[in-house]
Symmetry: C2
Subunit: 350 residues, 2 copies
Amino acid sequence: MSTALTIALDAMGGDHAPSIVVDGASLARERFPDLRFILFGDEARLLPLVAKYPKLLECSEIRHTDQAVANDMKPSMALRNAKNSSMRLAINAVHDGEAQGIVSAGNTGALMVLATVVLKTLPGINRPAIAGYLPSMRGDVVMLDLGANLDCDADNLVQFAIMGDLFAKTVLGLPEPVVGLLNVGSEEQKGHESVREAAAVLRDSDFPVKFHGFIEGNDVLEGKVDVVVIDGFAGNVALKTVEGVVKFYSNVMTKAFQGSFLARIGYLLARATLRKARQRVDPRQYNGAMLLGLNGVVVKSHGGADAIGFANAIGVSADMLGYGYNDKIIAEFERVNAHRASLEKATPSA
Amino acid sequence: MSTALTIALDAMGGDHAPSIVVDGASLARERFPDLRFILFGDEARLLPLVAKYPKLLECSEIRHTDQAVANDMKPSMALRNAKNSSMRLAINAVHDGEAQGIVSAGNTGALMVLATVVLKTLPGINRPAIAGYLPSMRGDVVMLDLGANLDCDADNLVQFAIMGDLFAKTVLGLPEPVVGLLNVGSEEQKGHESVREAAAVLRDSDFPVKFHGFIEGNDVLEGKVDVVVIDGFAGNVALKTVEGVVKFYSNVMTKAFQGSFLARIGYLLARATLRKARQRVDPRQYNGAMLLGLNGVVVKSHGGADAIGFANAIGVSADMLGYGYNDKIIAEFERVNAHRASLEKATPSA
């Protein structure tokens, strides 16, 4: 990074704010010593927390506000009535160029709406998408959209594919990520019109994404692809279904281990490796979400995150900024649009 | 049952046809001694198989055809070119009144299309739905649609709610099943327009369904409701995601048990109860699917089912027939439409 990067923090968002925000920022600073922070929130509460970390104090600025977006506030209300909230002011700081990214553990719907209205989408992107990680048998998988757009047309899905591909390249460091479109079957003729149209665009060998084709729900955690593209309704349902199945399975296993004396002894012996295994399937490990496609880097930390989780969310935003994720999106879309325009020139419509 | 029921069997459908179809029919006959069968398929192969079971032979008729619908055949091709297939002839038998239900372990898409075209939907039902079971922490859950209708309007979803409710009442024997609409959040303003409109209809206290409201993906396996209503695209993605997560989790656990000497010993001690637990979460246990809303009972057995699985599928069709499932749907829709008409009369539009 040539110049110091500044991250705006919604210090009042999340179940354990503001303490985990401050603790998380301090942890993130150790990994990214060049970062600077602007913390938005209740100064009287924030100052003693930040003062515990002299190095954090040095690279941080506190901006006081006593308004915060409640967890149950409707996004439309947040937009109208929370103009001085810690979340809104943090987003404004990105819009005004004081910060390049914002991290919040607050109300997801409000963050989505406020960030979209204030920051607007990047050129070439019609709608932002929420992206997240899932575990798989072959490593982490990026999935988008997870709920920002309930209805998606083919253009939206194609844009999500490009954004997800670049995210996997820049943040996960995969040299050639494979992108799949989630559908109800793997054959070409299956699925919604929007999904089939998007697949037709992505199959073009000149398109800058390595496209696997359609995948089905059971392929996601098998790691058949690195990036899973889906509309926000089915994506949200799928993500939360994963959480539900893991909880159900854990519950059944716990009961099984209590089911007999031998099983209880067995559990005691296997406990150490089982704990590690459960951690691996715990969806809370993967709960940070990125709002992709906006003029500025926006990362949502899980509302119940601890300091380590919040530091990871800051880390993702620092990675996205450090690798110039948004600049790459802009460049890629210019390239894609130029290619499409040349195709149209070559084959004028009748 | 007052009169004998006849089930038409697609004897050539599924990975292990025709043997598991015949073995399954024999098992089902033991549970339902009044059932009669018409088996459609290759007579030369079927006759010796059926002859092994003298009691099955007595209550069965074999109708020869040498055509079958292949697993990878497109539904449109099956419709045009498989008019003498075992699947098509079995469906025709229901249409012609020779049988009241049909069970097939063959190509799902083809079964869906052929059954819809030949049998047509019940009065009041715009589109049939595929329903299936999932396990949950509180017992089995019925979920529909699982892929028959990729785009659903509010009317479709309301009809699915009624069909699922009656299925839970008649086949699962639940006196007052609770129905939930799967959505991206539990608040009233969340989700697609179709989902919100359907919820508004279902919330009416005179509506003959006990409506819980919106549920999210993680609520399904928690057993928050007995019937889960969703469009076929997201429903199919969710169902297959469940399969994928269970496979992933099992894989991680297996590796964990091999991860240390102590864990291996622990596994040996806990093996018996763990096997039972895994069986409980195995989605193959729940893979039979019902095509609801057609003039006739149509049940799809899993393609890889064994004889017990196929017998269960026959059992579901016998239950649906025995309890007069389709008659109840017709009566319920008459009641609902009369109620809606009376509401419209009471509040004439301006």
